[in-house]
């Protein structure tokens, strides 16, 4: 028994993304954002995408390139205050935006990855985020039904990956990546370092490779991954 090899060229993996696809993108700010996969998706040109991402990055970074290229029709997110492009597109009606409470977005994605239908939560009851949501009573207390989220594709940034797709993250570049890596039909991971099978200790794996379909090593770590000068 030998674990299958899932290494691939980034362009080939990204080429599977069709128009209208739902795409989860890891990252919270710069750390963990798969900048290279995003650039490949811009090159590929799929349009009418629904993106699921914690934030909209900043102008000239990350998913801003997809927004600028007009490839995104819908964004499910928690906060886009640092990206004027996203705010302008939203205000003009060109971009439909669904805001989630941050931890609820994380849990909805995780629920999708765990094969659940939904979670029940009391977060946001009494605020406008509860409007239009299905309510379930349990022992006399109301909870909002927060449906699980899944995507056609998840774009993941890892620090290290082995050839089976086991992933390890560093520092706060973890964020939404392990959650999204469970919740998509096709999971594509870029890694700063690709290591042989066995080089990643079984106890240090953050995302088991069974969730990952394609893994590619980054040839360069571009400036977009670097410290943001403000």
């Amino acid at each position: 028994m030998k674990l299958p090899d899932k290494t691939c060229r980034i362009e080939e993996a990204i080429a599977r993304i069709g128009d209208g696809a739902t795409v989860m993108v890891g990252g919270f700010g710069v750390p963990g954002t798969p900048m290279t996969l995003i650039h490949a998706l811009v090159e590929h040109g799929a349009r009418g995408l629904t993106l699921i991402k914690n934030d909209a990055n900043e102008p000239g970074m990350g998913i801003d390139h997809l927004l600028q290229a007009g490839q995104v029709s819908r964004l499910i997110t928690t906060h886009l205050g640092l990206n004027g492009t996203a705010i302008a597109l939203m205000n003009s009606g060109a971009l439909e935006v669904e805001f989630n409470a941050q931890g609820i977005l994380a849990e909805r994605i995780r629920a999708g990855g765990a094969g659940l239908g939904a979670i029940l939560s009391d977060i946001g009851i009494g605020t406008e985020l509860a409007l239009g949501k299905q309510v379930v009573e349990m022992e006399g207390k109301p909870y909002l039904v927060e449906p699980a989220l899944r995507a056609d594709v998840a774009l993941i940034h890892a620090d290290r990956a082995d050839t089976f797709g086991n992933l390890a993250y560093v520092a706060t570049a973890q964020n939404f990546n392990p959650l999204m890596a469970m919740a998509a039909t096709c999971v594509i991971a870029e890694a700063e370092r690709l290591v042989p099978l066995g080089a990643l200790d079984a106890n240090d794996v953050h995302t088991p490779g069974v969730f990952v379909d394609h893994v590619a090593e980054l040839s360069t770590i571009s400036g977009e991954y670097g410290v943001v000068q403000r």
Partner: protein, 210 residues
Amino acid sequence: MVARAAREIAPGMVVNLGIGLPTRVVGCLSSDFPVCLHTENGLTGIGPPLAPELADRNLIDAGGAYVSLVPGSAVFDSAVSFAIVRSGRLDLTMLGAFEVSASGDLANWKIPGKFSPGVGGGIELAQKARRVVVLTTHTDRSGAPKLKQACSLPLTARGCVSRIFTDMAVIDVTPGGFALVETAEGISAAEVAAATDAPLAIPDAALPTF
């Protein structure tokens, strides 16, 4: 039959082997066959079983057997382990059975009044693996058929079983009920039909044996 069942595993699959007969399928997989074995407690990349004197006290499968790792194994908590199952990442599971019905219902966890140890991970494996096959003796210890028109015992999951490997035959569950696919060496189709408590479709052509 174990060796025959092992051939059900296609290269690249993620597979869970249930307790009992299915676990023995491990012994039929060659060391360079590309497959990932999963166990419910929280491990992907199971290697061959280990004798007690070689065992790691912290490394077992869901059945309590001491197992080894392979290069690329990963460990994780039991919630993640079942996330793999429920989210569709498990290509195949091989399970034991008390009864299988002609519509693919599986009963393998409870005999009311006699045996009710709890369902463990069986429901999720049966309900959510992309393909569920059963490995079982064709009849129980008293000689009663395990393949029946309908299950009499509490169900594990409905309509989940695709194929059954027994000591007598390989049988598919089709929209029309049980269909004989192969017979064990020296067993006739008629013998299989006689030991099956439901109609069994038998093709006109000669059947392969295993």
